[in-house]
């Protein structure tokens, strides 16, 4: 057999880049497609049973109506040049998104008791696409919280930025944030593997994530050590972006670009880890 350089086409023309670029492109398109199929699977489920989402309205309502009202009167927290309730609304949106996403992983444990996860893993889909699809579906669930928190905010007189650009920015930040915490949740679920342990860890995790962030008070109020922690907390960047995008007079501390960048990088990192631990759930 004659040895032939792999880059040389049968017709003799050398095209050193094209085939590898095409393969890369095909795998990227394949990855995106598979991710969307998994998201579609979850969204279809949700469409058959939307009632669950309504119960999610209770928690943000309680925070905004009770905690928010009291602390607005107390003027205990420096919210800059906006009323405290305005300052807090994006934080509560981020919190609701966090709560939805952080328990999203439990679905994996349910699926493990069924055979669905085995069938997904035996299909020719990249593992990372399978997990990212779940992250996006958590994001879609979380979008209902945007509607709920916006409605509550309007009721409470929060001044909202209604420009389409700002709204799309909010949707983007919510999707990214939800996907991040859903990935974290999924990784935990894949490691602990039982509902009981998962619920325990989920509960233990949400409170520190929430309080060690700028959701209901600015970072500048915190003691030094907590400031460091909250700067490593992805929720802080989600809140920061939401505060700038959602409010008419909102401002970002870090810059929206930095916020989205941190969230995007965190997500990419978590997807890689989740894609690695996910197959273990089938064993």
């Amino acid at each position: 057999m004659r040895h032939r350089e792999p880059d040389v086409q049968p017709d003799g023309s050398a095209s050193p880049v094209a085939p590898s670029v095409r393969i890369l492109l095909e795998s990227v398109v394949g990855f995106v497609k598979k991710t969307l199929v998994i998201a579609e699977l979850e969204v279809r489920k949700l469409r058959h049973d939307p009632a669950e989402l309504l119960t999610r309205a209770i928690q943000p309502a309680l925070w905004l109506l009770l905690f928010g009202q009291v602390f607005t009167r107390a003027r205990a927290i420096p919210a800059g040049n906006i009323p405290y309730i305005d300052f807090m609304a994006p934080g509560i949106l981020a919190q609701s998104v966090l709560f939805i996403a952080i328990f999203h992983g439990i679905a994996i444990i349910w699926e493990r008791d069924l055979g669905l996860v085995h069938k997904l893993l035996a299909s020719p889909s990249p593992r990372a696409a399978l997990v990212l699809g779940k992250g996006i579906s958590a994001g879609v669930r979380a979008l209902t919280q945007v509607v709920i928190v916006y409605a509550l905010s309007v009721m409470l007189g929060v001044k909202i930025n209604w420009s389409p650009a700002a709204l799309s920015g909010v949707i983007g930040a919510v999707l990214l944030g939800a996907a991040c915490f859903a990935m974290l949740s999924l990784i935990i679920a894949c490691i602990v593997k039982t509902r009981e342990r998962f619920m325990g860890i989920g509960q233990v995790l949400t409170m520190p994530l929430f309080f060690a962030s700028n959701a209901i008070y600015p970072i500048s109020m915190m003691p030094g050590w907590l400031q460091v922690i909250s700067r490593m907390n992805p929720l802080t960047y989600e809140v920061d972006a939401l505060r700038a995008l959602m409010l008419a007079r909102g401002a970002s501390v870090f810059g929206i670009g930095v916020d989205m960048g941190v969230l995007g990088l965190t997500l990419a990192l978590l997807v890689i880890v989740a894609g690695r631990v996910y197959p273990g759930i089938a064993i």
């Binding site: 394949g30 497609k33 598979k34 199929v37 579609e40 699977l41 279809r44 489920k45 058959h48 049973d49 008791d113 069924l114 055979g115 669905l116 085995h118 069938k119 997904l120 893993l121 035996a122 299909s123 020719p124 889909s125 197959p279 089938a282 064993i283």
Partner: protein, 265 residues
Amino acid sequence: MPILETDALTRRFGDHAAVDGVSLSLDAGEVFGLLGPNGAGKTTMIKMLTTLLPPTAGSARVAGFDIARSARAVRRVIGYVPQLVSADGSLSGYENLLIFAKLYDIPRSERSLRISEALSFVGLLEAASRLVREYSGGMIRRLEIAQAVLHRPRVLFLDEPTVGLDPVGRRAVWDHIESLRKDFGTTIFLTTHLMEEAQSLCTMIAIMHRGRVAAIGRPDELKASVGENGTTLDDVFVHYAGDRLDSGGGYRETSRTRRTARRLG
């Protein structure tokens, strides 16, 4: 070339070898039955061959692709019906198939035709728009088979396909498996602990016991190897797997099996 071959395939969990150096070779178009009591290593075997579980030692090829090195290629040519319920109860039968048609890259133009073909093959065309949680156990299993053959796999793996089904449902599943082999030449690899199932379906049988293949051959050959006329597969099984039908598996597996049985029943 055999469609499926394993070479000293081994999987250990700690000190325990669930599958212990299994070598077998299977020609295309066979219906291969892996028999054994619970805990014999049947499911572990299927999980390795479907690329869900990496082997500890040894190797295997499915349709010429190595299960460890070319896992993606293996996944394209196999279909898999896990023992546990794998259809999504909160979706309709049609949606279940649609999602998998997309996951297996069936082109958009062919999708609806393939889905309706698969649905009519298992007799679920009329129930297609109903939620799967309203299906009977037999219907769920048939839907799962439809789901697993949408992409026309060369080898179809079925893990205890009739566990928890009543005789009517069981018969229907057998008929579908039989026609898959006849009409499409699909190679079938199934596990079972029912002699009757092995007897009426399989062209080739291996008896697995404590992670090893104790005997392998055509049903008649196996019967002949044990004794005179009138020997049943039950006798063969007792002969090779020992008289102790020690149903291992432990608490978790038992509760899973029962849960599956309840969901399907």
